[in-house]
């Protein structure tokens, strides 16, 4: 029988340094015909504590490219810093800004370079490509990436992704067209309204998502911002 007074002293206690930490947060990206939308909540957490209610997870890396990065905040920040340095080198050497598909590929190689001690982040890149189309790329922590129409990443991605499949992808809802399109045929206003709704829904059930949403709408004219309040519990 287990005796708490004597048997606890016999058992070995392991201490181990954990290099990672879960700081929560959710990001959503949607690609339109001539725009791209990327949104993130602004809550930063650690365990059951809130570290900040005003910390967006979006990084404006090039004039027409925004990166969303959630997971371990330390890695988010460092990855962004390193990416900015690489993009500056690109600009000096090539005498031009880095296009969104090129940024996307660069991020993949940078993430994979840390294959054996990964950046603990879920990344989504949103932007306009050289043809003026909206594009979204999503990554796993070691750089596996794909261009998609829409993607949710982060702590409440499992709650949001099915909603996007239903409303944007119209999956298994009777459509017989094989869509090879990488963009959604919805207006900017409707996409933004949908994004606000999905975050409202996610904040209901995910404790790590809430406080506010930062939305970046990227068009050929630049990046526009919207701010939307969420429940703070």
């Amino acid at each position: 029988m287990f005796d708490i007074k004597t048997d606890t002293r016999k058992m070995p206690i392991e201490h181990h340094f954990n290099p990672y930490e879960m700081n929560g947060g959710t990001i959503v990206g949607v690609a339109g015909e001539d725009f791209a939308v990327i949104a993130s909540d602004t809550r930063l957490s650690e365990g059951y504590s809130i570290l900040s209610r005003e910390n967006p997870h979006l990084y404006h890396v090039q004039p027409h490219t925004v990166m969303g990065s959630v997971g371990f905040h330390g890695d988010s920040l460092t990855f962004n810093k390193t990416l900015q340095i690489r993009l500056r080198m690109y600009e000096y050497e090539n005498n031009k800004k880095c296009s969104t598909p090129a940024v996307a590929q660069l991020i993949s190689t940078m993430l994979y370079s840390r294959r054996f001690f990964p950046y603990y982040v879920n990344t989504i890149v949103a932007g306009i490509n050289n043809e003026g189309q909206g594009c979204i790329y999503s990554y796993d922590p070691v750089g596996s990436y794909e261009r998609e129409v829409y993607r949710a990443g982060g702590s409440s991605s499992a709650l949001i992704q099915p909603l996007l499949d239903s409303q944007l992808g119209l999956k298994n809802q009777g459509s017989f067209e094989l869509s090879r399109s990488y963009t959604v045929k919805m207006s900017r206003e409707n996409v933004v309204a949908l994004v606000k709704d999905v975050f409202t829904a996610a904040a209901e059930r995910d404790i790590y998502t809430g406080d506010a949403v930062f939305i970046n709408i990227i068009t050929k004219d630049g990046v526009f911002t919207e701010h939307f309040k969420l429940r703070r519990d």
Binding site: K81, T82, I85, R88, M89, Y92, E93
Partner: protein, 234 residues
């Protein structure tokens, strides 16, 4: 006598010289002229970019290069050696940002680049860089302009105004007469063009000279049409 010790970089001559470095300086003195002038509100770099033949299409190749947002440089001497140093300098600039989250002060960048050049005078199997660099920068904290020269030996000097490359002695003499502490950037650009003109064979136009300026808004190269406007005023 010195020539007997010219074969090896890592052997001093009896007079105390490293002859390879002397020869590297000769390579610089044979290169196209470059000029740098520090004004009260900025620095100007100018260089001759003569094409060897009318068939050359060097429009995409630049001699004056930005290194960081606030530092730029130009050279006289061997182009390929310069290319490498530009790459080194840019990386060193970014490494500083990564470590200190601040843009690199000009003298720090100059010291780091000069250290690279010195390395190539004290290593086996390498030769010194056949270039001298003129580095222009604006330090945001102090709000002052800087102009430095880096030599193949790894030595660096701060200048108010200088000329390197072919005819640099005449160039410096010309600048000694023309330079004043109260010079402003616009006048400095004018003076730089005149200094280049002293050694220029043929007609100067916006295609065969390059001009770069560094002021509180950072470093940038002038566009050919801006160069044309300045040429029209001389």
């Amino acid at each position: 006598m010195s020539e007997r010790y010219g074969f090896s970089l890592t052997t001093f001559s009896p007079s105390g010289k490293l002859v390879q470095i002397e020869y590297a300086l000769n390579a610089v003195a044979a290169g196209a002229p470059s000029v740098g002038i520090k004004a009260t509100n900025g620095v100007v770099l100018a260089t001759e970019k003569k094409q060897k033949s009318t068939l050359n299409d060097d429009r995409s190749i630049s001699k004056i290069e930005p290194i960081t947002s606030n530092v730029g440089m130009v050279y006289s001497g061997m182009g390929p050696d310069y290319r490498l140093l530009v790459k080194y300098a840019r990386k060193l600039g970014q490494q500083y940002i990564q470590m200190y989250d601040d843009s690199i002060p000009t003298v720090q960048l100059v010291r780091r680049v000069a250290d690279v050049m010195q390395e190539y005078t004290q290593s086996g199997g390498v030769r010194p860089f056949g270039v001298s660099l003129l580095i222009a920068g604006w330090d945001v904290d102090e709000n002052v302009p800087y102009l430095y020269q880096c030599d193949p030996s790894g030595a660096y000097f701060a200048w108010k105004a200088t000329a390197i490359g072919k005819n640099h002695i005449n160039g410096k003499t010309f600048l000694e007469k023309r330079y004043s502490e109260k010079l402003e950037l616009e006048d400095a650009i004018h003076t730089a063009i005149l200094t280049l003109k002293e050694s220029f064979e043929g007609q100067m136009n916006e295609e065969n000279i390059e001009i770069g300026v560094c002021n509180k808004d950072g470093f940038r190269k002038l566009t050919p049409s801006e160069v044309k406007d300045y040429l029209a005023t001389i």
